[in-house]
């Protein structure tokens, strides 16, 4: 009993001490310019975190090869925010601000984590460069958020408008997954159609992980839909188009970002041909700037880059340039530098608006010969 008591108390004392000790030891060395990154390093979103980190590290390598930031090598301090866990994000951002004294933080990436932390960083202690696409992220009046992607609204609008113009039809049906992504998509699409005086001929939903979509598809057919917009995950989208082909339906399909992802194309096979989607990044984009990035990334990591690696590669480049152009790590000056900057990145040519939105374009992608091909780039 006594032994246990003593052992326990020693352990507790040690952990508490270690808490403050380790944190104190984490103070940045002054020989480097330190910025922070709040990424999902652990938990179910860790794969996204890995891509995020690889994109950042590739950018850091290039920046340091080109002379670093403010004449010193750039160092990125990573903290885990567990993706969409608000408390972990709060602690990660707080630590980066208070302990690492980072003037710029890459991430948090998830909209909910962004919104949870905005009360903490928007007072001007630090700038967050994120690719969170939730509409409220730049709509809340925060002056210190920089966003490298368009918001969810932009993606839906670009897709719907292109599809209507290209396919010359107003008979549009929607199949969406019954979660916040799907429901958000449906409400945006119907609002966009509504503005053009159109009502969707049918709106169907399914649960995440469903395998059989024949009921939803036959209702699309009965309603006379010529174009079906899918707002769902890549697995389900793949099954939807494959089953439509098996049922002999000849409607066209369009989808969210997932309808140009490798999983979708692999699962849908032939049926993927001609499916249109809106996406920020496809590695087959022939643009030489993008091909150069794809080559560098493949050489370093032996895998194709995807959207999050590209987005945070760009975010790192943007942050380094802004600090260099401000000539200081003072957040207010860096934020002013972001506002003046024009930067050609992998996702877009960035130009920052007052609310922090810096990306005003999206690619319309069609699957051709089993590859996602950029048809056009919509600028807004």
């Amino acid at each position: 009993m006594t032994f246990f008591t003593r052992a326990t108390s020693t352990f507790v004392a040690a952990t508490v001490m270690a808490g403050f000790g380790l944190a104190a030891a984490g103070l940045p060395a002054q020989a480097q310019t330190v910025i922070g990154a709040s990424a999902p390093l652990t938990g179910p979103r860790a794969l996204l975190g890995r891509n995020f980190k690889q994109g950042v590290e590739l950018a850091v390598e290039e920046i340091n090869a080109a002379g670093g930031v403010l004449g010193k090598p750039l160092q990125v301090a990573f903290e885990d925010d567990q993706g969409d866990n608000p408390n972990a994000a709060l602690n990660a951002v707080n630590k980066l601000m208070q302990v690492s004294k980072a003037p710029v933080i890459l991430g948090p990436h998830y909209s909910v984590a962004q919104l949870a932390t905005q009360k903490t960083y928007c007072d001007g202690t630090t700038i967050s460069v994120t690719s969170a696409s939730g509409i409220p992220v730049t709509a809340g009046g925060c002056k210190y958020v920089i966003r490298v992607r368009g918001n969810d609204e932009v993606q839906a609008r670009a897709l719907v408008e292109f599809a209507r113009k290209e396919l010359k039809t107003d008979k549009i049906g929607i199949i969406a997954v019954a979660d916040d992504m799907g429901r958000g998509g449906v409400s945006r699409i119907t609002a966009i159609l509504d503005a053009a005086g159109i009502k969707p001929v049918a709106v169907e939903s399914h649960n995440a992980g469903d395998k059989d979509f024949s009921a939803q598809l036959s209702r699309m057919k009965n309603a006379g839909a010529a174009l079906v917009i899918m707002w769902t995950h890549d697995n389900e989208a793949g099954l939807i188009v494959r089953q439509a082909k098996q049922l002999g339906l000849n409607m066209r399909f369009a989808g969210s970002t997932s309808a140009s992802e490798p999983t979708f194309i692999k699962l849908a096979g032939d049926a993927a041909e001609g499916v249109i989607s809106a996406n920020d990044f496809v590695p087959t984009n022939p643009d030489p700037r993008i091909q150069a990035f794809v080559k560098k990334y493949q050489a370093k990591y032996n895998m194709l880059p995807e959207i999050w690696a590209s987005a945070y590669y760009d975010a790192t480049q943007l942050a380094a340039r802004a600090i260099n152009e401000a000539g200081s790590t003072d957040p207010a000056k860096v934020r002013a530098a972001f506002a003046k900057m024009q930067h050609d990145g992998v996702l877009a040519s960035y130009r920052c608006q007052d609310n922090g939105d810096c990306n005003q374009q999206i690619h319309i992608v069609e699957v051709k010969g089993g590859q996602p091909m950029v048809l056009t780039t919509v600028k807004f």
Binding site: T8, T15, G19, A25, D80, D180
Partner: protein, 626 residues
Amino acid sequence: MTGTSTRVALLVLFLAVLALPPFIGLNSYYLQVLNLAWIAAIAALGLNIVTGITGQVVLGQAAMMGLGAYTTGLLLLKTSLPWWIALPCALLLTGLVGAALGLISVRIRGHYLAITTLGLNEIFRLVVLNEEWLTGGAFGLRDIPVVNLPGPGASTASHLYLPVLGITVAVYALTLRVFRTRLGRDMRAIRDDELAAESMGVNSRMTKVVSFVVCAIWGALAGGLYVLFIGFVSPNNFVVLESIRLLLIVVIGGLGSIGGTFLAALVVTVLPEALRDLQMVYMAVFGLGVVIILLLAPRGLGILADWILAPFLPGYRDGPPVAVEQTTGISLERDGNATGPATTRAVPAPAESPLLKVRNVTKHFGGVAALNDVSFDVREGEILGLIGPNGSGKSTMINVCSGIVQASAGQIELGSSVVSGRAAWDVHALGVSRIFQNVRLWTSMTVLENVMVPHPDSRRSGTIESIIGTRSLFAKEERAREAALEALNLIGIGALADRTTSDLSFGQSRLVELARAIVNKPKLLLLDEPAAGLRGGLIMDLADILMRLRDQGMTILVVEHRVKLIMGMCDRVVVLNLGEKIAEGNPVDVARDPVVVDAYLGGKIKRDTTRAPGRVPRSEPIRSAS
């Protein structure tokens, strides 16, 4: 010096250290982590009350936090109520939800309850996610005004540090008080042995509801403080994983240990932050740390905390034990200050009026009739022996009389009140007390506490006064304590008062159970094989005690196998065989009755009565009974 002053000094020092951070210039990251630890400590304490102390496993505490957080947030956003009105409203609403959950827990038990609460947690998340017009959906409630209080330091985390810590300490102090008085004893009794608790007068339904309400309110308080301090709330704050984290705190703290929960909340919140520099593996190392804690101290951090908090826990006595005459077994003061009507009585008065009337009682378990149309009286002031071969329905009879099992047909009356159909605790309140065939004490509690539970002064203190801690509560506590000591002394085991019951020998436990059964001076005492497992000397001592109790005016119905004991102490005997009464009368006559003799040897001779057994298979819910 004595242990008390050392411990109190350590506690004061600990609290003083906790109050330091805002004054020593720690940055707001550390303060925020600590604030989150205090908030987790409050929510986990609620969970500990219901899971650790009352024994009802709940996996949905995050939903209670969420309900409190969303209610507070919405009231602040949609009405312009000040926070000090919004927060109590949220506590009230969540408390009501807790009451509903408590009522559910009366019906759903054990693992089923755990899964049900897990489901409720998920329902809460989905509703919050989907009702976007009210809750803001996946992106949560933003722009909730953060409370501004003056305080040391520059950041909100620093301003709110001392208030949050103060509330946490107050919540813990209040819970400690509830833990060691009437309500806490009832909760622990339900956890240790619900059946025994019910038959000793604990209204388990009410107690469970109250513990769920307190659990919900502490959860809501934690959620409300979170909102007032962070200014943001989303469905992702209150996922099932958060409930599991709170349960982890309760387990690491040692289920049921209040101080342990506080330490565990600190460890579970601070340790992952401390390990952050390990990057990808820090959560794995944290998990390893949890395993190490549980290996080193299977009872969790509670061991440490309970040592310091001992002066505030039940069963603590400063200094050496009070000198009580140590007894080897049962020592009776033969002519003590007994208040009974007579000290000796050779022959029972024949015209005694019946105290307990058992009329045509039938009890089916599925297709088996454990009791079949049994009728007899227990006369006031007698010891009635209930005997019969194994499986003859004796224990079922005791269970039916004490309200643990409800009769399928027939009626039981005590004086002018009908006993059958009442809950066990109501039967106890009418003056029926019992002991069990296999001793059923509440093993985590002290002997004294065991005996205090059924005392009328414990039973009479209301829920509200138990929580607030009025002066009348403490007066009742004191009376219950004195009466319990008196009962222990009467049985001759006053020296054991401060021992934990799990440390006792079987014989001692049996005597404690007897003291527990007589502390409320019951009219009728039901004894199910009181001598089972006792060695020879103790058995005759026991007979002495029972006769002495009878002489003090108590009526006793005793199930027993030992012929010697029955012959020695019973005034009359009722014999059951295969659920039917086959004989009744004075012990000597019954022992010679050929039907009785034959029943014990295995046959079944029918008396020339023409009653048909009439066993109707009937299915009905069966509660577990001894």
